[in-house]
Amino acid sequence: MTATAGARKTRAAVSDRTKAENSLGRKLVAPAVIIMLIVTAFPMIRALWLSVYDYTLTAPDDKKFVGLGNYATALSDSLFWRDTGVTVLIMVVTVGVELVVGFVFAMVMHRLVFARGVVRTSILIPYGIITVISGFAWQFAFSQTNGFVSGWLHMSPTFNWFGHTWSALLAIMVSEIWKTTPFMSLLLLAGLAQVSEDMVEAAKVDGATWWQRLYKVILPNMRAAIMVAVLFRALDAYRIFDNIFVMTNGAQNTESVSFLTYRQVIEQFSLGMGSALSVLLFLSVMLVAYILVKAFRVDLAQARQEV
């Protein structure tokens, strides 16, 4: 997107200066591009290559080419679809809740008159905490033996949150929401700041109520920011791993697609199947991105205010 925007500009007025600037720009980014290719493109190509083999690390002699066999196995296996279902559920619920809560936080941060720094900082603290740590913290909070959540909710103190699929998923989602809502509100705050105060003022003068101003003026004008926030969080949420690893280790059917992939590669040493699953995970993430971009009908370049 950036490239097309840049190209359009160059075509509009190709002065010597622009040409020189572009060439310098290319030279400056070249090292970064090369390093990126080494660290990202190589593993990706290698994963593609491995995914067409039946290859287990502990039996290198049995390595054989199976074509799309691993993909066929994965896509026809109920375990893959169950884990995909769990992942999509976690993504939809957490992003949905984060969008609402994050927007409220963004409004608070935006409208705050006093103690701005303190409030902004305290809202952002959870995002600064490592996911594994937040997973442990919430695991203790929900723990049967020393957790406080059951007590606060006046539930039976012997209720094992991690002993049932739904309650375990709830605990995982709470930790994910707590940890990443600040990120969402930060992106939304940037969007709120873009909405021109004049428009809001004008709507006010025209007699629009608070809700009307929100729905007719503020939200439509920050569509691009919402889109970026939802997109980033959705892609992140789809790859959820840490919280599950820490809190349930995949027990009680709380496994996500990333976790399934991890188990194939790290526990079973099945590099072939694991790579096929990684490729499928990559494709699913692309699909989610595509759907979101289409759904919001936003040009990403516009979101970055480049047009």
Binding site: L57, T58, A59, L79
Partner: protein, 446 residues
């Protein structure tokens, strides 16, 4: 100094520091080679002492700790070895992972001079087999673990089970007691039966012992890799499923059966009320209760501790001798080590009779060598009948399948046999066999 020059100076210092640390990793300051020994945290103090004793003026052994869980130990070693780490010289490996590691080419094969000693006649059969793969000796057995039936003598007496001194077995009406006899004995007399049936390796230990005790196995011809023969759908598999099913349906089952592990049933031996239990568990149990005399969860006094009995692992079916589970640790030499000759000598030293006696008396880890069982130190630490039972169990026990795909086999069994309450004699062996075949052929995900 210009900025560029200062940068260069910093780089030079950095390089010097790096070079210094790399050198330190290869050889110690006194010119000896350093060999890293990756051990699990079971017997750190003893291992540290042995490492000192086994160091010579040519090389020095340095202990490196692995994580505490067996699967994490395996993962960490595998990641190092898959990356051809030359600093992994020696390592402790669980016997079930020996085949995986050896098949991947991560373990150095023992040269004849070492191989003949590592698995000589002095080494008990179970551990000796565990150290071999594809006709080659690839590890040194260091210590051996096994399971026996731990029980309250008073409970067995009340239930009419007698202890036969000659065979060290519990007898029911003149023949060795089966799992069914023991479950019934516990259920009818207010006792329970302790096993390991959480969804983890310990459950496979139990299932494998049950299947082998009925004269069968889970898989055979394991050296064929993915073409191994899956045998669990057999009479032996059905007999094993029947035992699990019987226990799960019995009132002798402990309430936490589906999440039980080696620790959960310990407290049921001396409960505040009730008759106690029959429990299959590893060798650490004796020292555990001995250390708990007069403390919560342990025997109230010496007399109560005397009530603790031990006997051979229960038979799965009448007329077939049981096959007690075998565990323990083998010492392997990394295939990419820079000092394989030193490492071999060190491994031999870490697994000789003296080392095994030290492991047993100091850390309670039972020897893999007959000569160690005969040592006076060990005889002082454990009752003679218990030592004899351990030794016999290790010698005549049944190993879990030795396969390059062991972790898949184990996970596949766990996934179809857990929870124990879902096990049925008619469907579980068949289901698990077809699932295991699919998994090995790459047609199903685990």
């Amino acid at each position: 100094m210009t900025r560029a020059r200062r940068g260069r100076a910093v780089a030079a210092v950095g390089a010097a520091v790096l070079a210094g640390t790399t050198l330190a990793a290869c050889g110690s300051s006194d010119g000896r080679a350093t060999l890293n020994v990756y051990i699990n945290p079971d017997a750190q103090a003893t291992m540290a002492k042995l490492a000192d004793q086994c160091s010579t003026d040519k090389y020095k052994l340095e202990i490196q700790l692995l994580p505490s869980s067996a699967s994490d130990q395996r993962t960490q070693l595998a990641r190092r070895l898959a990356a051809r780490d030359s600093s992994t010289d020696l390592m402790s490996i669980d016997p079930v992972f020996v085949a995986e590691f050896a098949s991947a080419g991560w373990l150095a094969t023992l040269p004849e001079e070492y191989a003949s000693k590592a698995v000589d006649d002095d080494v008990l059969k179970g551990p000796a087999e565990s150290a071999q793969w594809d006709g080659k000796v690839v590890a040194f057995p260091q210590w051996a673990n096994t399971q026996v039936t731990w029980y309250r003598k008073s409970l067995a007496e009340k239930a009419g089970l007698t202890y036969d001194d000659a065979t060290q077995t519990l007898m029911k009406d003149g023949s060795p007691a089966t799992w069914d006899d023991i479950i019934k004995a516990a259920a009818d007399n207010g006792g329970t039966v302790g096993v390991q049936a959480n969804k983890y390796e310990g459950y496979v230990v139990w299932i494998n012992a049950l299947v082998m005790g009925a004269g069968g196995d889970i898989v055979s011809d394991t050296e064929a890799g993915t073409d191994a023969k899956v045998d669990i759908d057999s009479d032996a598999g059905k007999a094993a499923a029947q035992v699990v099913q019987t226990l799960a349906d019995s009132k002798a089952a402990q309430p936490d059966l589906s999440v039980s592990n080696e620790g959960t049933s310990l407290g049921q031996m001396y409960p505040s009320g009730g008759a106690g239990e029959f429990m299959v568990n590893w060798t650490f149990v004796y020292k555990n209760y001995e250390g708990l005399i007069g403390q919560p969860g342990g025997p109230a006094n010496k007399a109560a501790f005397q009530d603790l009995g031990w006997a051979r692992y229960p038979a799965t079916v009448s007329g077939e001798e049981s096959k007690p589970p075998i565990g323990g640790i083998d010492i392997g030499v990394g295939a990419y080590s820079k000092h394989k000759d030193y490492a071999m000598a060190a491994a031999q030293c870490l697994t000789n009779t003296d080392a095994e006696v030290a492991m047993a008396t100091e850390a309670g880890l039972m020897p893999a060598r007959t000569s160690a069982y005969n040592s006076p130190e060990l005889k002082k630490a454990f009752p003679a009948s218990l030592l004899e039972l351990f030794q016999n169990s290790v010698d005549t026990g049944g190993l879990r399948p030795q396969s390059a795909y062991y972790s898949k086999i184990s996970s596949a069994i766990q996934s179809r046999w857990h929870p124990p309450s879902s096990v049925s004699e008619s469907s579980t062996p068949g289901n698990s066999a077809s699932f295991l075949k699919d998994v090995l052929e790459g047609k199903a995900l685990l």
